[in-house]
Symmetry: D4
Subunit: 251 residues, 8 copies
């Protein structure tokens, strides 16, 4: 056999295997930013069959750019536990603030989620949801490249027991559910107030529609909470909390 087609065959077969295996899974996480990756890590660690769908080519979302392209971010002391769990270093700035290299945080979170066993599908856009008898039962997906190129091509579907909306400021899964069921209201993210936001986002991390959970900045978009800028403690803790809530639910 010619080597080039072996490469092609190996990739196509192994990807299709991964894709078909995950057509029906326990949890679908939408969005590969900090909260989505942390929830994928803890859920996969607990043995759930987890698929994470990311719209872009790479994962890590807004972490890479730090604050204003200065690639460092801040994490508070109460979230160091999560950093320790996934093996990311930090430097103390003052008693409550620690500085983390953005590149290390982004790559470390992705790497640990994969190593924990989450199946990550990048380049996939979630166009819509499946709902049956007032319960979310899956996602309607397509290649992001299809949307970017303006082609008119039908999507396909994956089925799951729980969906986590970790799409950040957009809260895009919640927006679809809100528009199509009229049973969910999105208050919209508020102005910046870091201290208040950090606490409130963790507190409001929850199930917002049967089978649909929110984490990270999507929580602010749903509940009308303030935003907080390049500090990531709340994001990490919200990701860990949503993993606990889903675990409880799927019990």
């Amino acid at each position: 056999m010619i080597e080039e087609t072996t490469i092609t065959r190996a990739i196509a077969e192994k990807y299709m295997e991964k894709f078909l295996e995950n057509l029906e899974c326990d949890v679908c996480i939408v969005g590969g930013g900090p909260s989505g990756l942390v929830s994928a890590y803890y859920l996969a660690k607990r043995g759930f069959k987890v698929s994470l769908f990311e719209k872009k080519l790479s994962l890590g979302g807004g972490i890479w750019g730090g604050g204003m392209m200065f690639n460092k971010v801040v994490v508070q002391n109460n979230a160091l536990e999560v950093l320790n769990d996934v093996g990311i270093g930090y430097e103390k700035y003052d008693d409550t603030h620690y500085v983390v290299d953005a590149i290390e945080l982004a790559s470390g979170l992705i790497y640990s989620a994969v190593k924990a066993g989450a199946a990550i599908f990048n380049l996939i856009n979630v166009e819509d949801v499946m709902i049956k008898e007032d319960r979310i039962t899956g996602l309607v997906i397509n290649w992001t490249a299809v949307e970017m190129s303006g082609l008119h091509i039908d999507p396909m579907t994956v089925a799951c027991k729980a969906v986590v909306d970790a799409t950040g400021h957009d809260a895009s899964v919640c927006h679809i559910v809100a528009r199509k069921t009229e049973k969910l209201n999105l208050a919209g993210e508020k102005y910046m107030w870091a201290e208040k936001a950090e606490k409130a986002i963790v507190e409001h991390t929850s199930e917002v529609y049967p089978g649909l959970f929110v984490t990270g900045m999507s929580v602010a978009a749903v509940y009308g909470l303030p935003r907080m800028g390049p500090i990531f403690g709340g994001m990490l803790l919200s990701g860990r909390k949503v993993a606990e809530l889903v675990t409880e639910k799927l019990g």
Copy 2:
């Protein structure tokens, strides 16, 4: 002090510290794809002061998309050593071909390069080079966002003892040197012939102008070698080899 400005201050100070510390370094690697990251890993491991500049927001280059968006890639048996060094898993396909998850490969290479001590600067475009007395002595850099937004803003510079062009198919540093010195010719990448390409790229990994080394697909662009598609053994080995050549040179 107000918390939000503490976050801002912490990020700005720590980034600027990293930036100023690396204004003069041993090796500047341009491009954060597989070869660039592997060379950063091995050079940093050996104790060199290494800066890696990546044009995009995230690192990992063409790895994330696997082949045709199927996020798996192939690595041959002779390059498994590098995967083992950086902690990336693989699955045997046949005697010579192993399949690797693209997400794990991308994030693992980035993570290991940072952990090894390389300073990574993303969102930075290399606009030009510094040359003195027929030797490359540094890079002329700017924010990628400046180029993308079409603003007319002056660049700044970093100085180093060696530059590694790991920009892939573009070989963009080599192109600048070729155009501005007329002492370097770029033959241009050829058609696909995976087997031949994999060997030739490692063999031709070398210093192409005083102080300027090429690795990865840039080697093909300079020497007119064939291309190979989504198989990454040659990329990894070329990255390791360029690290050895630079080590020798800077001795």
Copy 3:
């Protein structure tokens, strides 16, 4: 099993089956315009394993728009045989000119090529070629959507015994071979002279590099022949001739 995932599974499995089956085939035809479809029809009829790659979503190329968006085209009497073979109707205009509905011609040629057994892959862009020992041995393909969306994603490959460049005015496969081997010159299509063009294109339909055949308007681009406008006799006959030449070669 949930019905939606059955649909997804059925489509993914059957497409992948078709894709893997055709990774190695007899003839790869690039371009789904009139000549490409006619050659696919005759080659598949003769029992060859034929794959046709089309860049766009739909096939039929320039046929659909007729002349200046008036969706009728002209075919000469010497090519009526091909129309009869594939079941397309025509209306006599004068002794040599027959008018055909463009929609019928486009859909009929596609339909008959599929029915004859050709495997058609639309939405696929041919980025490059495989060449070994001065012979074309396959194509380097990618999703068109990848190119359209500007994403940086590696291509994959298909292997074959013969390639037919049916890409029309672009002669894009020939252009790649010309640029990368420097063993093929493209003279460029000339001004319009319908009568001369119709004959010359059929005459010059040939193998232009070991394993690479040209048909249709690509012939004009390679040999510097005149163009002919919305008259399709030459296109159909060139498609039939290239099928004969490939048959002879693959014997």
Copy 4:
């Protein structure tokens, strides 16, 4: 006479003949996707004078791309009759699901509609409708290229006894009628629920305003039904049903 101008003359005359003949027809179908083509086929078969207007260069709509660019689609057993009528092959997947090649389905539906006698006008955009005494009496059409190029050029009109909105998700004719008469409400397509959608779309295929019928995905947009992804049974049956309803009406 010079041959080139004969070609031009033949095309212009024959197109204009077709255009003028269809300025006043029985049924105008808007949209050349699966439902539109099937309804054109059955209505033309019954002897009605049918014009189908398609905005794009080619017909077939969303069929070509299968699901997520994998060019296969699914059809259920209850719709095989339509496939048999128009001569399209299928492969059994399980008791209820059959897989069809997307290229064959698209080209076969177009080809059979033309062969049945429908006059197809591609590259034509329906900008508005004609309404007299609260009844739709025709369409206001223009070249799609006019809209795409942003030129300011007046449209023209075609008159008919019935209009079929087969424009898919957009339900664009219904939207025009809704906005301009305020006598039609569009509920908007809902989330995915394939089983429910497949049945409901056929059931709700109907006349929604005097002289205006909906078929295919436009039915979902008008009645607020769920969507179903790349399964085409409902589309085909809705197209056949609308043909029956129009037949009854025009009786």
Copy 5:
């Protein structure tokens, strides 16, 4: 008959009549700027069958904008005769310079060309030429909207005894002939020197290839003459001269 379709029918029939009547004519003028319109006026006055093709929606080219959007232009005393012929007013500025309202000049030249009997086709792009036995024998035309919208649609042709390139700075017909025959060289327009340019352009107005004449700024592009800015005497006189040359030729 319904009134709206009568309007449509009347327009379609009368346009097609005009189009078919002019498929074979004496002179094809390409470009509806000052020189093209003046030549159309004088040639039509002399009884030739003249078709003028203009790429844009409106005619008049660069006249409308005057100089730097100040809609006045200058004409010298030696060209007042042409203004008088076509009924355009002027105001004396000094002994040699007269000021003309740009709107009056543009509309007056168009109006007089139509009244003289020239058939004007706007929105038509000349894509290529017909050449037989080293003589230009017609034009290859398409809708401009086709090019603007990026659609892939075949052109059609018109036949004539002489072509006048009045496309201005572009000299686009000459460029096509130069590229495709290699028997014509274009020197490219030079810097500004109004006095010299005004004379030289009239002097060099001529036949540049068998059957192909140049007028207006295209003359400068072919012969490498200087340019002159918003003074139109030379343009008007060049248009009149080319009419004389064509008359002589077609005798």
Copy 6:
């Protein structure tokens, strides 16, 4: 004096003279389509100081393109008087419908308006209006090129006794007045019904806010009337009527 600067000086001085002379005028007409030009013609004929502002480079609006780029239009018998007044030819199609060449109609209307004494300013965008004590007293104008190029540059003003909104479908002056005064409602143009539209538009041509008159398609946009396609009788008669209404008002 150098000749080139004489040309520049002549144009700048004469344009500025025209501009300053018209800073305060009787009537400002916005939009240079058929109704605007006809109203300019009749008002200027009656001795009013008339300025017409057109956004585009050329005047004539939607006339040039005829119907669907077929450059012919239809005028009914009751409007032939206007054609006769301005010197435009026509061809009888049936008892009520006459066909006019679109190029002749556009250029003839512009030419006659200028000849009648209207000052035409093309390339000028009306950004806003001047209103004092609930009466429109002038226009806020800017170069269209400023808006097109996205530059942030202040507008200037012209004062007048009456404004005619002849901007067509947009009714853009009415929209500004509606939004900023909340004393004018725009019903929006309705579907096509040519016969009804032709009469209604002339009837509703009127003063809609103190000092602001509407003519042409803007009348349909304000009063919610049907549209009529490429028939121009109503446009011409509405333009003549608005001239009469303004005459009465300014008496």
Copy 7:
């Protein structure tokens, strides 16, 4: 030390020093047009720590373009005092109107604000605000280049005692506060009435939300006042007044 890196180091250090020093300041002015610059001048003169953020590369806003690109502007006699304070010349036009060169006005206002001690940050976009206990306490800023290039990168913050919205027509800070607090209504700028506008804008210059002041055209946007065109007296006086109001408040 190598000279190039000294340049880089000097710039980076000095900018960062300026940036960190101004992370907490007395007054943040948003927008570097006439009112913002004048308020920065007077506030800095009084010894306040003032930061001015401008979105664009250069400051001066709409001044540079004068009226319709004619780079002169008008100032009334009651505002000459401000011109005298900042050293800008003027030419008398009539008793109340003075003409000023736009280039001198723009550069002079910027120069005097810097000389007075205001810290100017250009290329900075204000994305959001900080609000605590119903009082604005700072701004959320990012590089404009980040927004222009569509990158997804977190902003940072600056804290202050008062914010001045000098963003002109957009009133963009007020819009953010209005949307996020629902405690501020924006009436929207009205039509032009220069005399009324000039007075009203100065009168309404005020604090509109705790800690948030408006000046210049933003006043019109908030209070629904008329606009005035290229006359700058009101702008200058509003800028001086807001400086007085802020002085009083911060006492």
Copy 8:
């Protein structure tokens, strides 16, 4: 008189006065960056009639953005004299390097050039040059907005005794002269070498074609010199030197 039209009249008249006065001047400077502004300052100081044309809305060119958007720049000790002449402050960094605020430098240079008497025309693009008897005698100008908006509008001209190309990296006037006369060669700017560049650019500041002088980065583009980044000593000194050379020439 109505106040708004007085404002309009005042601006239009005064701008036109300035424009007409400068139609024939001593020196035309193209480009309003540091060298252009410095040369304008010194030439105007010496009493020459100087016009400076800037393409953009604002002047100052690349100064505003400092290095990589950090708005500080460096000036060496040998250029402090120029800063003192024009009233710009600086802070010592080390013995040879001084740091200047970019906003102060940009605004101060513009302000001083205007105050010295230079007539500045922004928003003007130099499209071409006037050349007579092998000597540059003026510029062909147009509104930048015309080019940006893609409109086809004729330029106008200004005459002068000397032209200074201060267009920076583009050397756009030199490029026009090179292309149109073939008597000037442009070597193209080289890589960065700050020390060498700073000296060489001042040394090579000179007359490059009869009547055409170069200053600033255009010198590097013409003579193939290295570049230097955000250090402005050479720019300022080159601007002063070109003023001396022009003074000598015009005597």
